[in-house]
């Protein structure tokens, strides 16, 4: 019941915002079209980029490219970060050895790596993936590490008592037990991946949503800026939602328990 009321209010607010949008831009001109696009401008830009293209390609091309970069960067980061985090969590020696390097690298914001990446790898995809990897790598490591460290001792002792051999232990005990925190790390990694991708493409790119945003800003084309931002938001939402689905499936036992 509360949910329905909230949805109703949500829709009402959306409607009011849209009305406000029209009112401030088209009807009264309080906000000039050069500053923020009118609904018509927005629509015009959207049509343009989906049919004739903008900044060297259609919306689909740009969006797909950005999406692929995020997915690739995220995947590499996760497949390197999670095992490292798990290993550091389990093996105190590994933790002691890796920690100092990690502590030095960790405070550097991934976005600060963009100039270096461009210097090394140019304006192409490789530089973007490198930065995305770095951004998504850190949260995965940290959260997987935490996930292992917060496993309750009796669970580990029970597994040992049952005579569980090492590989089975990792696959059937360690990973499932750390899974909730691993997924928290994945969510953060995905978020970081998107932020970094957009920033990297804004600084310099040949294709992608960031490029669209950049060009639109240089062309003083607010309608297209809005299109770009919304595209980023929609893709971000879709990927997050997908990850959430995977999480729900994998952690069915945990979600139910937390009910």
């Amino acid at each position: 019941m509360i949910g329905r009321r909230r949805t109703a209010i949500g829709f009402a607010t959306l409607a009011i915002l849209i009305l406000l949008w029209f009112a401030l831009t088209t009807w009264t001109g309080i906000v000039s079209a050069g500053r923020f696009p009118r609904p018509a401008d927005f629509w015009f830009s959207l049509v343009q980029i989906t049919t004739r293209g903008y900044a060297g390609g259609e919306l689909f091309t740009h969006a797909l490219h950005s999406l692929v970069l995020v997915v690739v960067g995220f995947s590499v980061a996760v497949t390197t970060g999670v095992p490292l985090g798990l290993w550091m969590g389990w093996n105190r020696r590994a933790e002691a050895a890796v920690n100092p390097v990690f502590l030095i690298i960790r405070p550097i914001p991934p976005l600060a790596c963009i100039p270096l990446a461009i210097l090394w790898l140019g304006l192409g995809d490789a530089a973007k993936i490198m930065v995305i990897w770095f951004a998504a790598f850190v949260p995965s490591v940290i959260n997987s590490f935490s996930g292992v460290r917060t496993i309750e001792r009796p669970i580990i002792e029970a597994a040992r008592m049952l005579g569980t051999p090492p590989w089975r232990f990792v696959a059937e005990i360690l990973v499932p037990a750390a899974a909730p925190m691993i997924f928290t790390g994945l969510r953060l990694s995905l978020q970081a991946a998107w932020t970094t991708l957009v920033a990297a493409e804004l600084v310099g790119a040949l294709v992608g949503l960031g490029l669209v945003l950049n060009m639109a800003q240089q062309d003083i084309y607010p309608g297209m800026i809005l299109v770009g931002m919304l595209a980023v938001g929609v893709l971000g939402f879709a990927t997050t939602w997908l990850l959430g689905g995977v999480e729900r499936r994998a952690l069915a036992w945990n979600m139910a328990a937390e009910r």
Binding site: A158, R168, I173, A177, A179, A256
Partner: protein, 265 residues
């Protein structure tokens, strides 16, 4: 098979000034298929005794052996039932019980048969595919006991297994454990706070002093139990009503009472 022996066991946690003297000169012999309970004040080290047999801790000095061989790392020959169940939440009841069997490299057919027996024994048949969070505390502990029993361990180590259960469930579980150990006896080391529980379940009861823990007294229950024929009485509450029971219980209570600081002279 399945005798336990503590030989002048000492256990100190930490070092130097910050060291914690948990156990002092523990000498204890538990015979084959004997059910021994250890009672004692909080922090007296009774759980530490169990953990040393289990292989989770090493004695600082002295030796603990099972069947004459020194205790090594944890394993299914010394199965443990934990106070808070320690079931794997992502595995179903069946899978929880199966893990130990898979580790023993048994064939699937054999494992399935053993699991079916265990489920039947512990009244878990209708919950075989449920997950721990769907079960009550009592049922979870039944799974934990099944998981341990199915390994046919020489020694069963139970660390306050009914401590996390509510009073009624506790009573049911105590009756079930008696039934179980009668049908399928083995050596049991049982740690508990509850004197009644110890007297009801055990053949012998060891009373420990407060920290550093020493064995103060060994009380033989079995002789009295057999003499007074407790096992002919169905319900716990009727057993606990017997004079022989009350006498034993009160004796142990008094012994424990002396361990409380304010009652020592």
């Amino acid at each position: 098979m399945g005798s336990i022996r503590f030989d002048k066991v000492n256990k100190v946690f930490g070092t130097g000034k910050a060291g914690l003297n948990a156990l002092e000169d523990i000498d204890l012999e538990i015979g084959e298929k004997e059910f021994v309970a250890i009672v004692g004040p909080s922090g007296c080290g009774k759980t530490t005794c169990l953990r040393i047999v289990a292989g989770f801790e090493r004695p600082t000095s002295g030796a603990v052996s099972v069947n004459g061989k020194p205790v090594g790392s944890p394993g299914p020959d010394r199965a443990v039932v934990f106070q808070h169940f320690a079931l794997f939440p992502w595995k179903s009841v069946r899978e929880n019980i199966d893990l130990g069997l898979r580790n023993k490299r048994l064939a699937k057919a054999k494992r399935d048969a053993l699991i079916a027996d265990a489920l039947k024994l512990m009244n878990l048949e209708s919950h075989a595919d449920a997950f721990p969070h769907q079960l009550s505390g009592g049922m979870q502990q039944r799974v934990a006991i099944a998981r341990a029993y199915v390994l046919d361990p020489e020694v069963l180590l139970m660390d306050e297994p009914f401590g996390a259960l509510d009073a009624q469930t506790r009573v049911t579980m105590q009756e079930e454990l008696v039934r179980l150990t009668r049908v399928n006896p083995r050596t049991v080391l049982f740690i508990t706070h509850s004197v009644e529980e110890a007297v009801y379940l055990a053949d012998r009861v060891a009373v420990m002093t407060r920290r550093p823990g020493r064995i103060k007294e060994m009380i033989d229950v079995k002789t009295i139990r057999n003499a007074e024929r407790w096992n002919t009485i169905q319900r716990i509450e009727d057993v606990m009503d017997l004079e022989s029971f009350i006498h034993l219980r009160t004796h142990i209570w008094k012994s424990l009472r002396e361990e409380k600081p304010e009652d020592r002279h």
